[in-house]
Structure formats: C-alpha cells, structure tokens
C-alpha cells in the first residue's frame, strides 16, 4: 500500500501541464525514432539527452521526456516491421515474422492496431510490476556494501554483452574498453591525473554524453553512408493501411497470448542485460510452442504479432526495475537513461527511493500516462507515423546528425568534445562492423568510475585484504550469478541467434 500512496504523489508531479506536454512530445518523437529503420530507442534517447540538458530541464521533466521517448520507440518499432518487413530495432524483429505476412494479406491495419494494443498491455502491466517490485528490490539493495556493489557491477557487465552478442570475448573486450576510457582524468581519491597525456581537456575525463552520442548517433550516420541506396523504399506503405482497428474477435483470441507474453517479457527485462530482444524472442517462442497447433505461426497469425509486442514492451518496463532500484541497467537504452540520471547528479539505487521520491514516483506515474498517450496516438494516428517512413534517409540522417551536434555543443560549447564525438562515431562504426557490442562500452564509461571507487573503498575497509570481496552470502551470490551470466549465453546464445538471426536485414547491435 505504501507504493500506492507514493504513486499517487507521483501522479501529482506527472500531471502538471509542462510534464504532460513533455510526455506527449516524448511519445511522439519516440514513436518516430522507433518507426524509422536503423534508429532505435537507444539512438533516440542518446540524441535527445544532450538536448534535454541544454534546454536546462530539471531532473523530473527531463526524465519524463526521455522515458517517454524510450516507451514511444518501443511502440514505434513495430510499424516498419509490419509494413516493410524491416525491424526498426532488434526487439521488433520477431514482429516481422507474422506482422509482415498479415500486411501482405491486406490486414496491415489490423496488425498495427493489434500490435498497438499488445504493446499497451505489455508496458501497462510491466509498469505495475515496476511499482511493486522495485521497492522490494530496494530493500535487498539496502544491504549492499562496497563489495556487493562491485560484484553487482561485474554482474551487469557479465550479462550485458550476453545474449545479443555472438562472442563473449568481444563483450568483455568492449566492457574493458569502456571502463578503460572511464579511467581517463583526475583520480577522484588521490587527485593524480591518469591517461591525460598532458592534454588539459582530458583532465575532466571523457563526458559519457559525448561517448554515447558518438557511438550511437554518429556511427549510425556512417552506417547509412556506407549502405547508401540500399534503404528500403517505403513508398506505397501508407496505401496499405485499410482501417486501423482490431476486430473484437481478434482481441479475444489474443488475450491469453498478451497475458503470457507480458509476464515472460517483464521477467526477461528484469534480468540485467537481457533486455527487450530476449523479451520478444521468448514471448514469441513460448507462444508458438503453446498455441501453434495448425502451423499458422509465421504465416500471419495475429498471436504471432501480439506475443512479441507484448513481450518487448513488458521487457522495457522490466528493465527499469534494476536500473532504478540498483543503479544497474537492464538493457542498452536503460544504460543511456542511467547516464542521464548520473548527469543530473541523481544516483540511482536504493537511496534514490528515499532521497528523491518525487523523481522516482513522478517518473513511474509519467510512464502510466505515457502508455495511455501512446495507445491513443498509435491507433488513430498511426497513418501519420507511416508518412514519416516516407521521408528518405538522405534528408533525415543529416538532420539527425546536426541535432546530435547541437545537443553536445550546447552543453559544453567545446570544439574538443565535438572532435572526440566524431572519433567515437568512427570507433563505433568499426566496432559494429567487427560485431563488438557497443552497449558494454557505454556501461563501462558510465560505471567504471563507480566500480573502482567501490573496489577501493572495500579494500580500504579490509586493509587491503582481497578476500573481503567475497565475504558475504550476498556478494558470493552476485559473483555466482555473474559467472553464470557470462557462461550461459555461450550455450543459450547460439540457439537464440539461429532463431532470431533469420530475417535480420541489416547490421544492428542495439540489444534493446
């Protein structure tokens, strides 16, 4: 009941005119980012973070804007999957399997409506899950000392490369790269400069916003340049929509599917690192096993549309649980949101619920409101979003790139940061070609400093005794989970990829 009264306070925060407007804007922009092939939730949030900053938004409104973008992009991903057979991002991949055949059968409108409703069901109930689960997790997190936090960060790294990457060594490489970059700058505890090579700009370290925007947004522009002329043509897609409503019989038929998929997706989201890709994959696979009696899955079965959409949106909500309660992101996009929180001087984790309840509960309330906005936006207005798909990348990508530059320059006014950002863009492009996941780099840049601080704090307490790192049942459990989390994808991952990999149209390493 405690959670419910806090939530009521949250609604008071979220229902102000400014915050409602930002939620509306975020949902709208997010849906567009999600719908456009190539730009997923991580890119959308990464591009808008610097802007939210330069606009000088306070913490709560900024978070409301960005999480609305996140939820909106999770909704929007299905549009190009259904109409063009191109997933806007990885979680939307499973939706192509039955969504596109439905569109080919002239049922694009039904498929869009059904997937919109499934998205709503998934994220609405996942947000309830967040309300009740996050405060419980906080109670556990209050037992955490520096050793436990160190183990928890290791766990996040061990699992984040996980399922989406083909190669665990590459995930480890990527994480080490990120943590290594985080070490640049003046050491907070002793004040000595590290890896700065006498360059004054490096004394402050590398701003993670610069790293994020470079790795995601700028590298995306390079990918587009490389694949010029190979983009899918959206022409005619808007004509495919007949009427955007789902018949009641279709909803009745898929109600059970949505329920099961929501639960599975939410659980997949809560696991650190697994994220929405796993959510939509598990939801689809289980549903196929449970209800595909006539072999209609893959040929335009509505349940095959409802399952992954409910699953990936539920996972998006689930991923916020460890992010808010422990400060450990459950997915790529939540890693970007975590960056946002840290940059606003808000440290996620158990103390967040005590010291900034208005931020947390205002945010959660905004998620509920955002869901309703998205449902309204996505049923009657879907043909508007389909028109956005008609804007060719040759006009869209330059605008995206320039907005990314404006955002970063607006924060610091520093040319050096822009140069570093382009360097990160080039590096990101190379790493993507080599199939090295980018999210661990971001997480490393974000959490590397915290990880070191916790290690050194623990060893100061224990007088340099390293065994203190595995001194409590909690830290031993976390280390155990980290090891399992690192090894398990080697076994499960190949199965996941052989199933998910089919129909992948383009290189994308957005695990969320």
């Amino acid at each position: 009941m405690d959670a419910l009264s806090s939530l009521a306070d949250g609604f008071a925060v979220a229902l102000t005119f400014q915050n409602l407007l930002l939620a509306l804007l975020g949902c709208f922009l997010g849906t567009i980012f999600g719908a456009l092939p190539g730009l997923g939730p991580s890119n959308g949030v990464a591009i808008l973070i610097p802007l939210a900053f330069t606009l000088g938004l306070p913490a709560t409104p900024a978070l409301i804007l960005l999480t609305s973008v996140y939820y909106g992009a999770m909704y929007g991903g299905r549009i190009s999957s259904i109409l063009l057979n191109i997933p806007g991002d990885e979680p939307a991949l499973m939706t192509t399997l039955d969504g596109y055949p439905m569109a080919q059968q002239g049922k694009a409108g039904e498929a869009l409506a059904l997937s919109g409703i499934a998205s709503f069901v998934g994220s609405f109930f996942a947000t309830w899950g967040l309300v009740f689960l996050a405060p419980q997790l906080v109670k556990v997190a209050l037992l955490f000392g520096p050793a436990e936090y160190f183990a928890l960060f290791t766990l996040a790294f061990a699992t984040l490369g996980g399922i989406a990457s083909r190669n665990q060594a590459k995930a480890a490489f990527s994480a080490a790269l990120g943590v290594g970059i985080a070490m640049i700058g003046v050491d907070a505890q002793t004040g000595v400069p590290r890896f700065a090579f006498g360059e004054v700009h490096l004394y402050d370290g590398i701003d993670f916003l610069v790293a994020i925007v470079g790795l995601f947004a700028v590298s995306e522009v390079f990918i587009f340049l490389e694949h010029r002329g190979e983009e899918a043509h959206a022409q005619g897609a808007s004509k495919m929509i007949n009427r955007v409503t789902a018949p009641l019989s279709m909803l009745r038929k898929t109600a059970g599917t949505m329920g099961r998929s929501t639960v599975l997706g939410f659980l997949a989201g809560v696991l650190p690192g697994a994220g929405a890709s796993l959510g939509s994959f598990i939801a689809y696979s289980v549903e196929k096993r449970v209800s595909d009696r006539n072999g209609t899955f893959g040929k335009g079965d509505p349940r095959g549309v409802a399952a992954p959409e409910a699953g990936n949106n539920a996972a998006a909500g689930g991923a916020l649980v460890p992010m808010l309660a422990l400060g450990v992101p459950g997915s790529g996009t939540t890693a970007v949101l975590l960056a946002m929180l840290l940059a606003l001087n808000i440290t996620p984790g158990p103390l967040l619920f005590q010291s900034n309840p208005d931020v947390v509960w205002g945010l959660i309330a905004a998620l509920f409101i955002g869901n309703i906005i998205l449902l309204i936006m996505n049923i009657p207005l879907v043909s508007l979003f389909v028109r956005v798909l008609l804007v060719p990348p040759k006009y869209l990508m330059p605008a995206v790139a320039m907005i990314a530059f404006v955002g970063v320059y607006g924060i610091s006014g520093s040319t050096f940061d822009l140069v570093v950002m382009v360097l990160f863009g080039l590096g990101g492009w190379l790493l993507r070609k080599l199939d090295v996941p980018l999210v661990p780099v971001i997480l490393g840049v974000l959490l590397g400093g915290q990880m070191e601080v916790n290690l050194r704090r623990e060893l100061t307490i224990s007088n340099g005794d390293w065994s203190a790192l595995v001194d409590s049942w909690l830290s031993i459990t976390l280390w155990g989970l980290a090891i399992v989390g690192f090894i398990l994808p080697i076994i499960v991952g190949s199965f996941f990829r052989t199933n998910v990999g089919k129909g992948r149209s383009r290189e994308s390493d957005d695990p969320d």
Binding site: A169, G180, K394, Y395, P398, F405, T415, L459
Partner: protein
C-alpha cells in the same frame, strides 16, 4: 583475419595502457589499492580478450568496398572540419554546408542537397536557437 587484426591492435593497446598505468604517480595520501591497480586489471582483461580474438577469430565480417570506406572516412573528415569551423563560421553557415554535404553523399542531387542543407540548418536554428533559446555558435554575423 579482421578479428586477428583487432586482436593484435587490442594487445598493443592493452600493453600501452598497462605501461601508462605503471607511470601514474602515487600520491602520498593513497589507499591500499592506489590509482594504478584497477587500470592494470582492466588492461589485463583487454589483453586477454584480444588474445582470444587472435586464437579464435570470428568469421570475416562484411566490409564495405574501398569506395564506401573512403566515403565514410571522408564524411568523418568533414565532421571534424565542422567541429573546428563552427566557432569561426557560425552555426547557420557551417551547419548548412555540412548538412548539404551529408545529404548529397546520401544520394540527393546537388540542388536538392543544397535546399535540404539550408532547410535543416535554418530549421534547427529557428527551433533551437530562436524558440528554445539555446546558445548556438555565433559566427561573424552573429548566427
């Protein structure tokens, strides 16, 4: 082969990183770990994973053709140029030129690209600079 090259570069990077870490000055007010240890651990992980790439590389990725790769590198050069030109030329002019270039390289015709560049630049300037009041770079003409 690409993975092996990545591995070799990674090993070199890790060695350089660890070497640089050993050069970090210890402060008199140090803790049991000090500022060197953690970076060295990170360097070791970087090195170990790089050795793995050399021993067990993934199948060759799909590289772009030479022309396409040059395209990407040239675009990067233009973006570097943009960063340096921004405080000198002002936001509207440099952004218009850069957006025009990108639009052209993404397949727009010269006239289309020029229109797109100008529209994107002025659009962003009006939206972010005028309406939202962001401080964008001022050039010699104040915009």
């Amino acid at each position: 082969m690409s993975d092996r090259i990545l591995g070799v570069i990674g090993i070199a990077l890790a060695a350089f990183y660890i070497w640089q870490a050993t050069l970090i000055q210890e402060s008199f007010m140090s803790d049991p770990v000090g500022p060197k240890t953690f970076p060295i651990i990170i360097g070791v992980i970087l090195g170990l994973s790089s050795i793995y790439f050399v021993i067990k590389p993934d199948p060759e990725p799909q590289w772009a053709s030479f022309a396409r790769t040059m395209e990407v590198l040239f675009a990067a050069a233009v973006l570097f140029g943009y960063a340096y030109a921004l405080p000198i030329g002002g936001f509207v002019l440099t952004t218009a030129v850069t957006a025009m270039f990108l639009s052209w390289r993404l397949g727009a015709g010269p006239v289309q690209a020029a229109i797109a560049g100008a529209t994107i630049s002025v659009g962003i300037y009006v939206l972010f600079g005028v309406v939202l009041g962001l401080s964008l770079a001022h050039g010699p003409w104040g915009f």
